[in-house]
Amino acid sequence: MPASLVLPVNAVAATPSRSYWAMVWHQLRRDPMALFISAILLLIILSAVFAPWLAPDDAYKGSMLHRLLPMGSEGHLLGTDELGRDMVSRLMYGGRISLLMGVIPVLAAFVIGTAIGLFAGYVGGTVNMAIMRVLDVFYAFPSVLLAVAISGALGPGMSNSLIALSLIFIPQVVRVAESVTTQVRKLDYIEAARMSGAGAFSIIRVHVLGNVLGPVFVYATGLLSVSMILASGLSFLGLGVKPPEPEWGLMLNTLRSAIYTNPWVAALPGALIFITSIAFNLLADSVRSAMDIRR
């Protein structure tokens, strides 16, 4: 046997290797912060998803007699709003729309933006330049202003605000995906793959996508809270969901008038927006550190 075969190459202890995502999962499970945040988010998401079964009351049926009841009132644990509707039920139903408004634009931007960014970054050169400069136009406007402008142009309504928000996030995701792709594209393992005669599609699918998806995913997780806040903002301005639909941003707006008489109840939708977006952000942080396991 040649000398190089018996050298201490096999000195590393034999621990079974896991796939990359299994390792990320393992890291996340050992992070108490991530577990706590996930529990809160799960609670919010589950109560929104199962609102029709869990809600104690009708979220649309008002009662003039029970307007603006304080917290802890009988039958209305968190009080009632300006039309006498049960706050617990409305917050649960509102979560459905608010969460959707947070998730769907980010999901759409994640898919579309990653595709554009991968293409631009992998092709490079003039094509990349053209795509990125066009998208830079979107950057010229503050995102809130742009969201208001697009929703205003399209008209109010939930689907239009979803479109507006997606359009805002796409350039941001593209920029992240493009820059990571440009970095990855220059690495030697891409050249090695080209040496083995792999086509562009195979290289992108096997070698580029896997390495780009991670950073983009982390970035997109961070966008969830932004999306939710922007969606609530649009509704607050009357550009998003229309009454009587329960939505946290809209509820915050309509309860504004009760801020002096019943501040705790009026602050509830805002508190939920706050908690949910903070939770999304912290979760993004945990995922980010869990995914960084190249030690």
């Binding site: 040649p2 079974p16 030697d188 050249e191 005669g197 896997g210």
Partner: protein
């Protein structure tokens, strides 16, 4: 190594046909001047490089960083399109009408890169990385798996133990072994080793070099070994080519280059090698200054502004590669080698 080499199973041109002949390879990188400057200027990264690699031999390419070694490798591998030049692989023109197709050429030529980490996809396990090439060429999963196990075992990595690992779980030497295994997956005839052992520490380097030597004999490989480490080149190479600023300044059998170098640059390089003998310390720096800017290489001989023997003729005309005396294998591009060049030191201090 002058032992008779068993011909490779895919040999076409016969034993005396060089495996690779490169003719007049050129690559100029455009540089943008000012913001509004229209005139394009070029970095002369590789400027008319020609050489041939005999079958079963190792050609070492040496030179300072920035001299065009790695660009030459990438041009040969077609990872970059050359601006000019042609290649003949085992008697057939590469990517030419009636010659060998680029795809087929690439299968015959593999490359091992310097950065063992960057050349492995961090998301793929070792086995997946090695099996990737065969898999995209339609080899079945079982067959590719068997091939991968054989290759990993051959490069000294226990397949059961290492196959499922990820690059960050391996040491530098182990990763470079994986890169070698991947390069061998196509049963190539030529492997370009681009600073393949430069990033490894000395003991690991020796192991990998030994492995490379064994593999070469076993698989009838031909190596193009690029390095700035003259000790390693001496150990591994049969022929050596010295590059300076995108040009070949001297080429020849390893004993000739290391024994009696003809070019002042080669001599400076060799005297810069740290001596193993404390009695022979290098006291005077063998070479002063930096290589000139490759955007505007000096006219005439490119080495002249650092050369201790520079003379008027060196600025006037560029020397061409010519045989050193009777030794056809050893050639040098220096006016001092040419008795008719008019250089005062020609043929006097360096007789053939």
């Amino acid at each position: 190594m002058n032992t008779l080499v068993q011909p490779h199973s895919q040999d076409r041109g016969g034993p005396s046909q060089p495996l690779l002949i490169v003719r007049d390879l050129k690559k100029y990188f455009p540089v943008r001047g000012g913001l509004l400057e229209r005139k394009r200027r070029f970095v002369h990264a590789v400027d008319g490089v020609s050489f041939s690699v005999p079958k079963g031999k190792t050609l070492g390419i040496v030179g300072e960083s920035g001299c065009g070694k790695s660009t030459t490798a990438r041009l040969i591998a077609h990872l970059m399109a050359p601006d000019d030049g042609s290649m003949i692989f085992d008697g057939e023109g590469v990517a030419e009408l009636g010659g060998i197709e680029l795809k087929e050429f690439r299968r015959n030529l593999q490359m091992v890169f310097q950065d063992s980490y960057a050349s492995l996809n961090p998301r793929l396990s070792i086995a997946e990385t090695v099996a990737y090439g065969p898999r995209i060429h339609g080899v079945t999963a079982t067959e590719a798996g068997r091939l991968t196990r054989d290759l990993l075992f051959r490069v000294g990595l226990e397949p059961d133990q290492f196959g499922s690992r990820y690059p960050h779980e391996l040491s530098g030497g182990q990763r470079q072994r994986v890169n070698i295994a991947r390069a061998l997956a196509f049963d190539p005839r030529m492997v370009i080793l681009d600073e393949a052992v430069a990033a490894l520490d000395k003991s690991v380097q020796a192991q990998v070099l030994n492995l490379l030597q064994e593999l070469k004999a076993e698989r009838q490989l031909t190596y193009l070994f690029i390095s700035h480490d003259l000790h390693v080149v001496h150990y591994l190479s049969d022929h050596v080519m010295v590059m300076y600023l995108g040009e070949v300044v001297e080429t020849g059998p390893v004993e000739d280059i290391y024994g009696h170098a003809a070019h002042p640059y080669t001599r400076a390089l060799l005297s810069a090698v740290p001596s193993m003998d404390p009695e022979h310390r290098t006291r005077v720096p063998p070479l002063n200054g930096d290589p000139p800017n490759p955007i505007d290489p000096p006219g005439g001989c490119r080495f002249r502004d650092r050369c201790p023997h520079a003379h008027a003729v060196c600025a006037a005309r560029a020397p061409v590669l010519a045989a050193v005396g009777e030794n056809i294998a050893h050639s040098v591009a220096c006016h001092m080698n040419d008795s008719l060049s008019g250089h005062p030191e020609a043929k006097q201090e360096y007789p053939a």
